[in-house]
Subunit: 370 residues, 2 copies
């Protein structure tokens, strides 16, 4: 299918002209993938020929050409190089709107202002989507579906600049959220940067732990430490650029932590038990304020959990039979502990296929978990 | 299907006789559900008639009768009431083995010892399975599948007592793990109790936050704060009973936190940026040590990423060929977006098998992602 055909079938897509994507990490590749699938011409520019080749094979776009006349440029590079590359792009393409995807906004704007760049054509952006593993290889076209996409316009940004980024975000399935750069940084300190550091500090306690203790790890530990696997280099850049609001929140957290430690160190002291309960109740109150799960609704699949014997070939046999039943797998998760005799395979399928699949698998002798 | 018929079809189930389950919260209901489905006679005892009626309607068993002669009794009540109820059950059923499911073991054993209970028939237990939402309504028969189930025998426990709990755990799909009560408490302080408190303290920061800031919440915040929704009453009991090891770990965490705060408060100071990177790297090192799912990445497995066309049957074909190559899959993750033409399959294998597998798959025409 040609790009033009594909575009014709995506009449809802409003982004037009060539979109130039600079950088082919997780975000650049995901943006390129989604736009290419939608029939938009994506011109890719990267520092390394190897990452460019991978992104192109992956379907994220084509190599940039000197004759390109992009209407929109999306700079997807690490925070520390964002300002100079945005400035370079603004200068090189005087007709283009330039946006970026960096996790901090105020410092980048300040740096750009210092270079004398044409800020009327710059509109800061930040898609609130990411994964603990970066790189083109982790890119996915649906990364932004149902997620907020911050549009952090500066005082000089034209209405056309804001509109171009709104259109891009909407085309990729995200929800545009207008926030000023400084307010953005305060917000992400709370909802992203502090959670990252706290997760890292918690996971660090495991580094020297007894392996037998870790064998008792459950889902709670896995969830609280998942993002501790994030890239230290990139996160150091983010935290450095947003240090003040992050430090302020961490100080409040440290005060609470010290009260809990004091209470636990002498549980018989008056008020000690109440202090522990209060900390747990404050956690209840906080988590209840997080608005509904973004993104999850976008992938509305039914789950069929099959128990398989943990021996070579069983999973392949199951998937072969699922394929023969004509059911398309949307996703798959495998759960087994190294010592268990039984593994759990979670098959994600279209809800309309669920009942039939369960009945057919039972007929074939598979065990379905309740 | 009668219970007896069902039992006949579950010849692998080795638990015999009546199992008496005391308490119908999440764990009691889940145990009752799983055993009942397996055809085992489950006699339920609860404090409130309402929760008993709910558990019975849910399919977790039948109401206890004065004539019951249980071979095994599973006490599934909050930590603070576990010891007195275990003591009561040991006295009331002199022929039965009694176990419990409380998240702390040393203090309960101490309390039991003080009552003069018959400890030869008591074997402490702790299934490492739970959900942030408790109650019968959250119960599920597969809650324990693939999870560790701690068997914390005391010095007096008979071999028959240990065997009965091993059989129960295995019948419910869990993996028995033998740990002494004191070692158990030290381990769960690290892998469960500290993560709970840290998640609560982190979530507490959201309680008074600006709603517009919370609108930017992403998956990282949701994962790190999921367990902050846990029941404060139950967790206060757990933390009180395991206060010393929890406080010790939290003190180490507080020291790390203070170093990070100092670094963020003056990022220009010598070594400040390095300190932040070091904290993030320590998090990487810690999370990589979590065994099994999610933590598997760095642990002991090598990852081979194969790009497959996103069409039915491709994944099964790949896994069949991997099986034919004689390579044992330790884990598998599937990544594809609904719109991408290519899916990524991450194969987790023994590091010694990696190079050969890559070479063989390339020969067979598969595309390996860099």
């Amino acid at each position: 299918m040609s790009s033009a055909d594909s575009k014709a079938q995506n009449s809802a897509i409003k982004t037009s002209g060539t979109v130039r994507v600079v950088g082919a990490g997780l975000l650049g590749t995901s943006i390129g993938l989604a736009l290419t699938k939608a029939g938009v011409d994506v011109s890719l520019e990267t520092q390394s020929p190897a990452s460019l080749a991978l992104a192109i094979e992956y379907g994220a776009g084509r190599a940039a050409q000197p004759t390109d006349k992009p209407a929109l440029i999306v700079v997807c590079v690490p925070p520390e190089t964002t300002a100079p590359i945005v400035a370079r792009e603004l200068a090189a393409f005087p007709g283009a709107i330039v946006t970026d995807v960096a996790s901090v906004k105020a410092e980048i704007l300040e740096q750009l202002r210092a270079t004398g760049a044409d800020l009327t054509r710059y509109v800061g952006g930040h898609p609130m989507a990411g994964r603990e593993r970066g790189g083109a290889i982790s890119g996915r076209a649906d990364l932004f579906v149902g997620r907020p996409w911050v549009i952090a316009a500066n005082a000089e940004t034209t209405a056309a600049g804001v509109a171009a980024l709104e259109t891009l975000a909407t085309d990729l399935g995200a929800t545009p959220v207008h926030v000023a750069p400084f307010e953005h940084d305060r917000a992400v300190a709370l909802v992203s940067h502090v959670p990252q550091l706290v997760s890292s500090l918690l996971a660090a306690r495991l580094a020297d732990a007894d392996g037998r203790d870790l064998a008792l790890a459950g889902q709670g530990l896995r969830d609280t430490t998942r993002i501790a696997a994030s890239d230290p280099k990139m996160w150091t850049q983010i935290l450095k650029a947003n240090a003040e609001p992050v430090a302020g929140i961490l100080e409040d957290l440290a005060a609470d932590l010290n009260e809990v430690i004091a209470a636990l160190s002498d549980t018989a002291a008056p008020g000690a038990i109440h202090e522990i309960t209060r900390a747990l109740e404050a956690g209840n109150a906080g988590v209840s304020r997080i608005p509904g799960k973004h993104g999850a609704t976008a992938t509305n699949y039914a789950t069929v959990v099959v128990m398989i014997d943990d021996r070579p070939g069983e999973l392949a046999r199951l998937l072969t039979e699922v394929g023969q039943l004509g059911v398309n797998l949307e996703d798959l998760k495998l759960e087994h502990s190294p010592e268990a005799q039984i593994g759990l395979v979670e098959l994600y399928v279209n809800p309309s296929a669920e009942a039939g699949l369960v009945a057919d698998l039972l007929k074939l002798g598979w065990r379905i978990a309740a």
